[in-house]
Symmetry: C2
């Protein structure tokens, strides 16, 4: 598994309020779709998305113990790599909460919780570019 | 506020277990001090640190509602910038949970929770380098 964090997604209760807050801090949305904001930061991309949708996408309940509504995403270049990283995590004691499968956005992803319950999505998203260091490249809006 | 996430810190219950897990996934610690591991990723740095210590450093209780044990850090080049970002966040409705003050590591930091309770530390750490895009540069171990 390459050492990279492609996206940090903050689950939010009120999408417009969250977006207004980050814009008021001076952040600009690079790409937006279906009430999801992507902010290009230094390599990593910060994402705002409905908290319940994020939990469901991770394969967990939004009331799950230890879940604070933040998910890290590690994007990879192929479906096979998704499978490989999920198996590596499973073999090392992670709880796989979403078996690798197709995503609503046309990609392929699995998810696990680390030994402390922190959630990682391992994703192949053909709609995003991917640089050699594991950063995603957002499409033009 | 520049659009950058300098560090993502995962609060952990058992430091050695967490470190073993990430090392088993193929990650290498770039710098380690006082049971804190820093992994250099793509711009952003992933950190493992005791969850209770992280909560205390953010100025919140580890049992605080909505706290999942993850903190984002935004590093800046001076103490004045720490103050400025904290005031900007406060003016836009963030709850400031740690007023800007000296840190145990010789830096200066404040912290706030965004409207959904996600925690941000705004820090000036003279022990780390800081690139123009807001990424930190770790010292040699």
């Amino acid at each position: 598994m390459q050492q990279s964090v492609s996206l940090v997604t903050l689950g939010v209760a009120d999408y417009e309020r969250a977006k207004r807050f980050y814009e008021a801090l001076g952040w600009s949305v690079a790409w937006e779709a279906d009430e999801t904001s992507f902010f290009q930061a230094n390599g990593v991309v910060l994402v705002l998305w409905g908290r319940e949708k994020l939990a469901a996408d991770m394969g967990i309940s939004d009331e799950s113990e230890g879940w604070g509504g933040i998910a890290l995403a590690h994007n990879v270049a192929s479906r096979d790599e998704v499978q490989d990283v999920i198996e590596l995590a499973r073999a090392n004691g992670a709880e796989v909460t979403r078996e690798p499968s197709q995503t609503f956005y046309g990609g392929y992803a699995g998810a696990f919780r680390d030994p402390d319950g922190h959630t990682w999505e391992i994703a192949h998203n053909p709609g995003f570019g991917l640089t050699n260091d594991g950063s995603v490249t957002l499409p033009a809006n």
